[in-house]
Symmetry: C2
Subunit: 307 residues, 2 copies
Amino acid sequence: MKKIIRIAYLPQTSFFMKLLDGVATSKLIKQEIAAAVLEMKAAGKKVPHLAAVLVGNDGASLTYVGSKVKSCEEVGFHSTLIHKEADVTEAELLDIVQKLNSDPEIDGYILQLPFPKHIDEHKILLAVDPKKDVDGFHPENVGRMALGLECYLPATPAGIIELLRRYEVPTEGKNCVVIGRSHIVGLPMAILLQRNGYPGNCTVTITHSKTTNLKELCLKADIIVAAIGKPEYVTGDMVKDGAVVIDVGITRITDTTKKSGFRLAGDVHFESVAPKCSFITPVPGGVGPMTIVSLMGNTLLAAQKRS
Amino acid sequence: MKKIIRIAYLPQTSFFMKLLDGVATSKLIKQEIAAAVLEMKAAGKKVPHLAAVLVGNDGASLTYVGSKVKSCEEVGFHSTLIHKEADVTEAELLDIVQKLNSDPEIDGYILQLPFPKHIDEHKILLAVDPKKDVDGFHPENVGRMALGLECYLPATPAGIIELLRRYEVPTEGKNCVVIGRSHIVGLPMAILLQRNGYPGNCTVTITHSKTTNLKELCLKADIIVAAIGKPEYVTGDMVKDGAVVIDVGITRITDTTKKSGFRLAGDVHFESVAPKCSFITPVPGGVGPMTIVSLMGNTLLAAQKRS
């Protein structure tokens, strides 16, 4: 929230720029989910239950899983963390997955990636029951998304779509450039934004490391989704006036002016880009909180479908 | 083949334009598949067996299924046509699908769409065993394609990719515009062309009925894939010099100069577009024959995986 307040005083901020506030929006959605959980309880139904499988002690993974567990508490879900040492075998993980698949108490679960290198992530992922795959990473869910069938949408793209919807950002016929083609953000984002519906009906260009004319493409874009993991890569000279900019990146970069010695940067150079935008997501406080709340939404859906 | 010969005499044909000849290429691939079948026989293995489910008597569907059965004969596959009247029930079709799923003699099968309106196509499609889904339409295959995992690619996009590969058409870093976002051509084509590999690594823009600036986008495109089903929609003034143009459309249009009273037209106005192209697919004789041969390739793959 600190960042948001600071931005309001930037002298070059154009009068029409609006922040897509992921903190406020995700709070609202959490309240909606909490209300739905109370209704389920009142109807004598089981409370939604999310499990997470964590391997090893990677700092970022611990933080992410911690946030997810905390969010479960906030909305009234049960949660179970299955934490294994980094030397766990593939067979042990497959066994855990099988047990989660058949456990009627668990509505959905996630594998907190990355796993250590001796584990074949795809092999484990393919063993997840698509009906419990609340991360939306199983091929069946990815395919259902592409075909417009009911599915669990991957959390980050779902969060962005929800943010666009809640702020009523116009998308139909807009030129959208997605920077990055990852399986968990860039590609699903492109698929969702081109589909026939709202938000959607964009003319979507998907760009990546082999793209030769990114600046030119960005300058024509009405909507830019930056998901490359390169801090402050998208700068003001790449963005046209009135653009909508969604910043998926979040990287720690050194900042000696901070007590901590670092600050969090997005893929977008906020100071130069924000003044040109009609809408922009801040980092932190934009896409991040929406991602977690989308996972909660998928878990609620899983529980409702099973009850 | 007649059309190809005629084109060679067009006065405005630029010297560097090359036809992507689907007839010749598909013949070559059929020979390769036939050789693989002979090898399987020699090794005492079962010959690949494709089944097709056809409902009703739609003329186009009858023609397509007929071509598929004929292609099976040409490459040495067994084939089975299951032809039901238009009043078949959903339950009967589901029963057929279950039998095909469990029949060890059948390696793969296709549902010849469209089905009559009283049948929920998605319901039937979702019942197909993804391992026998040689059309690549089941969500699990679509998802596996998006994630770059082994799968059955949908036949038309697979045929186009193979044509680009065999003609060694450069794709990396090229700007590609896909016109049309159908689940069986446009969207998978966009996904395949953006992936990291060859053919691939294109900067892909997916356009559709809500796109506002198609001409402008096409004029910047190195590669255009036209899959909209509107005859001769892409005209010479929309294409830049040296472009690669892939024409997926095939529509009968009235032509009183022909004995038959009609001719086949693609989505591309060949006469005005071809002279500007480095490569172009003719219609007929381009994408069409490649589509059927891709289905044969998927069936061979299915048989090899099961044997």
